[in-house]
């Protein structure tokens, strides 16, 4: 369908008096690309450039008894060997910068490794080859530990502890729960009302982003006691702040230059290279480059994480879905990176683009001895959408309905209440289905081809459920629920001492957070009342952390 379709569809909401939108526009970097002049991070030449390569764990899970670098240090061309004790603040989690999660990952591990390929030392050498040769001479005395690779095995009692910051191998949400919850209506009541129950299990594999340019950074001393950093990062300020935090160096001493990325797809946000390159430069006084080779990119570079989903639908014989329950497990790998956030995003999306009066989800961010997972194109949504849509086909098959008709029947429409308690607007699933059917020459019933997202929504469908069943399943203790930002503020690289793992054995759970759980709201007349709790007028909802704060 052409662009005109959308113009027409959103006619009352858009200003079509635009000069650029709707017309092809040349990329501003296209000339640089076709002439080969676009400046990727590695296209900066430095005299005396040093090369960094990491010593990586051959084990999935092991304690480090001793790292012996003496032979490697004597190798020709070796300038310096870096280990964990050289990193000023050797513990971080990416999202601490967004007020979310506890520091759980060292830049260079010195106690324990939790995935194969985890770095434990870095060699800085005159040539890449010298660095490689020296890496082979670093002796690490490992004590191998039992490893766990399956998300459900990892959460069983007695499973090996992958990530000591989260001893149950589960990320802790809001300081209170070992999973992210969604409760909307009462799924159990919905299941009792349904004509049939249809269940499914869906498993997605990890996916490597595989950018054509591998991840890397070059750091060099700059005037005024600053460091210049050329980087392939997709997230310049993540990388800048992460470097600042790990190296306890004010960010005004870090001059980051990025913006030209040789393909990213989410795989270039983890900010592993910039701190290492700057640290190498700090320790040697010379420009340093740290780049993944292709093998590292594929094996150590963080992929889109695997997800496992269990879906249970309560379905009427006419195809209406009256209850949908999700239990999801995200495989975060050994550390958090961005998986906890992916789940927040994913749960906000449930139950998919459908209006279902009773929805329930428990979604776990699980630590396993696999490569840490990170961002990739729509992460948090794509995996569960695969599960949802595969399940829709299964439901259609079992109730004997056409799969597109089933989707149109259950599609959300403008004015419907979503499970995250916002009214749906600009919905277009029905129109998408109609266009897809038309293009595929797939016959639709008259009712389905005449349905519209603009009609028949709202009213009853726009009201919050009269009753929402809540529970305290998965309540944890020992984690503070107060804003994580306060802690990371204490970790600012000023004069404050480096904080240790921000887990407080006996800190009380602060009740202020998460308190306005929406309780049964009696609907008035249309339009329905705004769904969010209104007691705290001066608070702002942080969509990342789910924390409310001033």
């Amino acid at each position: 369908m052409s662009i005109e379709f959308r113009k027409e569809y959103f006619a009352d909401e858009r200003d079509d008096n635009l000069n650029e939108v709707g017309k092809p526009t040349q990329r501003q970097d296209a000339l640089g690309h076709v002439t080969g002049r676009s400046p990727y991070f590695d296209d900066h030449l430095f005299d005396g450039l040093l090369h960094i390569r990491c010593v990586r764990s051959p084990h999935h899970h092991a304690r480090i008894r001793r790292i012996d670098t003496s032979e490697a240090e004597r190798m020709p061309g070796v300038v310096r060997i870096i280990t964990g004790k050289d990193v000023p603040h050797n513990l971080n989690t990416l999202l601490s910068l967004l007020d979310f999660g506890l520091d759980d990952e060292p830049l260079l591990s010195d106690k324990k490794v939790a995935y194969k390929g985890e770095p434990v030392a870095a060699v800085v050498a005159e040539t890449e080859r010298a660095a490689r040769d020296a890496v082979a001479k670093v002796r690490v005395d490992w004590e191998e530990l039992p490893a766990v690779f399956d998300v459900e095995d990892a959460v069983k009692p007695g499973a090996p502890v992958v990530n000591e910051v989260y001893p149950k191998n589960l990320f802790v949400y809001h300081g209170r729960y070992d999973h992210q919850k969604l409760r909307y209506g009462d799924v159990e009541a919905g299941f009792r009302q349904a004509d049939r129950i249809i269940e499914g299990r869906y498993q997605m594999s990890p996916i490597e982003q595989a950018p054509t340019e591998t991840c890397g950074a070059i750091a060099a001393p700059e005037t005024n006691d600053r460091y210049v950093v050329y980087t392939s990062t997709q997230a310049l300020f993540f990388s800048l702040d992460t470097t600042s935090k790990l190296l306890k160096t004010p960010s005004n001493r870090l001059h980051f230059i990025g913006g030209t990325v040789g393909g990213g797809f989410g795989g270039k946000v983890d900010s592993l290279h910039e701190p290492m390159a700057v640290l190498g430069t700090m320790l040697t006084g010379r420009p340093c480059k740290y780049i993944f080779d292709r093998e590292e990119e594929m094996q150590v570079g963080a992929p889109r994480g695997a997800e496992r989903w269990y879906l249970k639908d309560g379905v009427m014989n006419d195809g209406r879905i009256v209850a949908r329950k999700f239990v999801g497990y995200f495989d975060s790998g050994a550390y958090t990176r961005l998986s906890s956030y992916a789940i927040i995003k994913g749960v906000g999306h449930l139950p998919g683009p459908y209006t279902i009066p009773n929805v329930y989800a428990d979604v776990y961010c699980v630590f396993t001895n696999r490569t840490p997972a990170t961002a990739m194109r729509g992460f948090g949504i794509t995996g569960v959408d695969f599960a949802i849509e595969a399940h829709m086909d299964k439901v259609a098959h079992e109730v004997g309905l056409d799969p597109i008709e089933l989707r149109i029947l259950n599609a959300y429409r403008d004015g419907d209440m979503k499970a995250h308690r916002r009214l749906a607007k600009n919905t277009a699933l029905i129109e998408c289905c109609q266009v897809a059917a038309e293009k595929a020459k797939w016959p639709l019933s008259q009712a389905a081809s005449q349905a519209s997202s603009l009609r028949d929504g709202g009213g009853e469908r726009g009201r919050l459920p009269a009753h929402t069943a809540t529970d305290q399943n998965g309540l944890v203790s020992g984690f503070t629920a107060q804003s994580y930002a306060k802690k990371s503020r204490a970790t600012q690289p000023s004069a404050t001492p480096p904080p240790q793992m921000a887990r407080h054995e006996s800190a009380p759970v602060t009740p202020r957070v998460e308190q306005p759980r929406p309780q049964p709201v009696q609907p008035a007349s249309a339009p329905p009342p705004p769904p969010a709790a209104t007691e705290q007028r001066h608070t702002r909802f942080s969509s990342i952390s789910g924390l409310r704060r001033r």
Binding site: P24, Q26, R27, D29, A30, L31, G32, H33, V34, T35, G36, R37, S38, Y40, D42, D43, L45, A210, P211, T212, E213, T214, T260, V261, G262, G263, G264, F265, D293, R294
Partner: protein, 161 residues
């Protein structure tokens, strides 16, 4: 390690460098003579982004020993344009949105220009075959194939370098 002198022509101009034994051509082009247009994507012959022409034939510079190019002609993307006038392939890549992140582009342009030199009127299949050693993670290839077809129509086989 003994250094070896190597002399070659790069996009028509004389270059003389000392190379290490075992040093690859990609490294010599980028860091030895400062032609940054060929890119490193894998260093193991699988991605094609380091493709250059040696005596008109496409080669993976990451797998080419630098010492073997003594006395030969090397062409890279840096030599495609004539001054500010783009090569028809470059213009077609721009017009056809065939470069997204741009990282595969220099290798694609080299593979395509070798094809057009050999075969000024290639079929779609010829093009697919010619770029089959070049990976693009962004475009899905269609815009690249179409751009090469368009460049051929526009007389993309003009000599350069």
């Amino acid at each position: 390690m003994a250094k070896k002198p190597v002399q070659f022509r790069l996009n028509g101009s004389e270059k003389a460098v000392f190379v290490d034994e075992g040093q690859n051509l990609l490294d010599v082009l980028r860091r030895g003579v400062g032609d940054l247009t060929p890119k490193y994507g894998c260093g193991q012959g699988t991605c094609g982004t380091c493709t250059v022409l040696i005596d008109g034939e496409p080669h993976l510079s990451c797998l080419t020993l630098a010492e073997t190019i003594d006395g030969r002609q090397v062409s890279t993307t840096a030599g495609l344009a004539r001054g500010s006038e783009l090569h028809p392939l470059q213009a077609a890549f721009m017009d056809g949105f065939a470069a997204q992140c741009g990282y595969c582009t220099p290798g694609m342009l080299m593979a395509a220009s070798a094809l057009l030199e050999r075969n000024p009127d290639p079929s779609r299949e010829d093009i697919v075959e010619a770029i089959s050693g070049n990976i693009c993670r962004c475009t899905g290839y269609e815009p690249i194939i179409n751009a090469i077809l368009a460049a051929a129509k526009a007389g993309g086989a003009r000599r350069y370098g």
